[in-house]
């Protein structure tokens, strides 16, 4: 009598790519809006971006049900924080909370690949990048999801970020202005959609700066 094996998986990959780039006084967070399963497209207009706090936005790709549950968890915890501290959570604080929330389910993980972007307490752009179980790092830019292998090398080349191993510690945020960073994001997604079947349809771009949060869209290949 062989032990019964499950014939269903609790996980699925709904695809998609996310990118975030930090600037001196802004942060750009972007993700495509395609949701897939296997070789099917489920919908072309699904947002992977979630505003967690006034100056803190998260983009996540991976298994959509886990991403949704994670977003709800963080939103609920943020509400409690606001009740207890009478203020919004800062981006670095939310970054730690996300890491802890992910590790909490270390032995049945949230299949969610996240980038967190926003402004830190001094108004400077910051980006945090994560794996599925909460390992995280503050960086100048990052990409996650199905197109990340195509996007990251291109960002490395264009943003020429200094190595974090150098001393003295150098600033990772890009000297590019906001408009240039947005342009770079659009280029990067247009390229990723050419070769990654899970990336396409539309990009949702969210920009966080001193004046607040704004959103724009760009059409991508639908094939």
């Amino acid at each position: 009598m062989v032990k019964q094996q499950a014939n269903w998986s609790p996980y699925d990959n709904n695809g998609g790519s996310c990118v975030a780039i930090a600037g001196a006084d802004y942060c750009v967070i972007a993700a495509d809006t395609r949701m897939s399963t296997g070789y099917n497209i489920l919908t072309r207009e699904y947002s992977k971006i979630c505003k967690l706090a006034d100056k803190c936005v998260m983009a996540s790709s991976g298994f959509q049900a886990d991403v949704k549950a994670l977003q709800k968890q963080l939103a609920a915890r943020h509400l409690i924080y606001q009740h207890q501290h009478n203020k919004q959570m800062s981006c670095p604080a939310m970054a730690q909370l996300l890491s802890n929330t992910l590790y909490y389910k270390r032995f049945f993980p949230y299949y969610s690949f996240n980038v967190l972007g926003g402004l830190d307490n001094e108004g400077k752009g910051c980006v945090f990048t994560y794996d599925a179980v909460g390992s995280y790092e503050k960086v100048g830019y990052s990409s996650q999801g199905s197109g990340s292998t195509l996007i990251t090398p291109f960002l490395d080349n264009q943003l020429k970020s200094p190595s974090p191993l150098l001393l003295p510690v150098q600033d990772a945020v890009t000297p590019l202005v906001e408009a240039e960073a947005i342009d770079l994001v659009k280029t990067v997604f247009a390229s990723a959609s050419e070769r990654d079947i899970y990336t396409g349809d539309k990009i949702e771009i969210v920009v966080v700066n001193a004046t607040g949060i704004r959103r724009e869209y760009m059409e991508l290949r639908k094939d």
Binding site: P10, Y11, D12, M35, N40, L42, T43, Q64, A65, F108
Partner: protein
């Protein structure tokens, strides 16, 4: 009797007895559900078959039900799990009505509830083996969403489950547009259901179309689609075939 004997609590997840409590595979299943938004609300179609593996066991299964005043639920997958979901929703609507405060749960809320139920069951490794379609209209706002057995959910202008995703969605992507009339919506759904009838082996030619508008939900009497089998290629299928088999 040994009063000191320790006993596993009945609902323990440990041990081989617990495994028999978890869903491993579906037994009686319904096939695709297809739905779209139209001018006045939502149109949804599903056939009335309940298959037991490859046997067509039940031919009068209503796979679409009204939920409260504003929503319509269609399900594919395990029929008994669908019936259990209807029991959960009965309780939900009952408690909502008991508040007697003039408020009522809209389709968005019901969809969210169902998503949480499906996801939580998936977390316990004991899923409700269904793909659900939840449509409705409340205060002029149309809503159409779907949720799978592992909790993947989204809303769109048209949705389908199972084979419908492969065969019906492409047709809907090509031919759906905003503010379809009722007649056009029904024609479009029938076109999808006909393709499914030709190509999905678990589909049967007995379907219902349900409509939900601000006025309420109506569901058609079961009826059949006209099909065409006189293609010359079907008349003598082996005519051009090479070889002995």
């Amino acid at each position: 009797m040994n009063f000191m004997a320790s006993k596993q609590p009945e609902n323990s997840l440990l041990g081989p007895e617990a495994d028999s409590q978890r869903t491993l595979y579906p037994y009686v299943t319904g096939t695709s559900v297809v739905a779209l938004k139209y001018k006045d609300g939502i149109l949804m179609a599903a056939d009335m078959g309940g298959s037991y593996g490859s046997t067509l066991r039940y031919k009068n299964v209503e796979r679409m039900k009204a939920i409260g005043k504003h929503s319509l639920l269609g399900a594919s997958g395990e029929i008994s799990d669908f019936q259990e979901i209807l029991r959960y929703l009965d309780d939900l609507i009952l408690y909502d009505n008991m508040w007697d405060d003039g408020n009522s749960l809209g389709p968005k809320e019901v969809h969210n509830y169902l998503t949480r139920v499906m996801y939580n069951r998936r977390n316990k490794f004991n899923p409700l083996w269904n793909s659900l379609v939840l449509g409705g209209i409340k205060n002029g706002q149309k809503y159409l969403g779907t949720v799978s057995m592992i909790g993947v959910n989204f809303e769109d202008d048209h949705v389908a489950t199972g084979f419908g995703n492969h065969l019906a969605r492409p047709i809907l992507r090509q031919e759906w547009h905003e503010n379809l009339s009722f007649e056009d919506g029904v024609k479009l759904l029938e076109k999808c259901m006909r393709v499914l009838l030709y190509r999905d082996r678990s589909a049967i030619n007995k379907l219902q179309i349900a409509k939900i508008t601000e006025e309420g939900m109506t569901i058609s009497q079961p009826y059949s689609l006209k099909t065409y089998w006189e293609f010359s290629a079907f008349e003598n299928p082996t005519q051009g075939a090479v070889g002995s088999w």
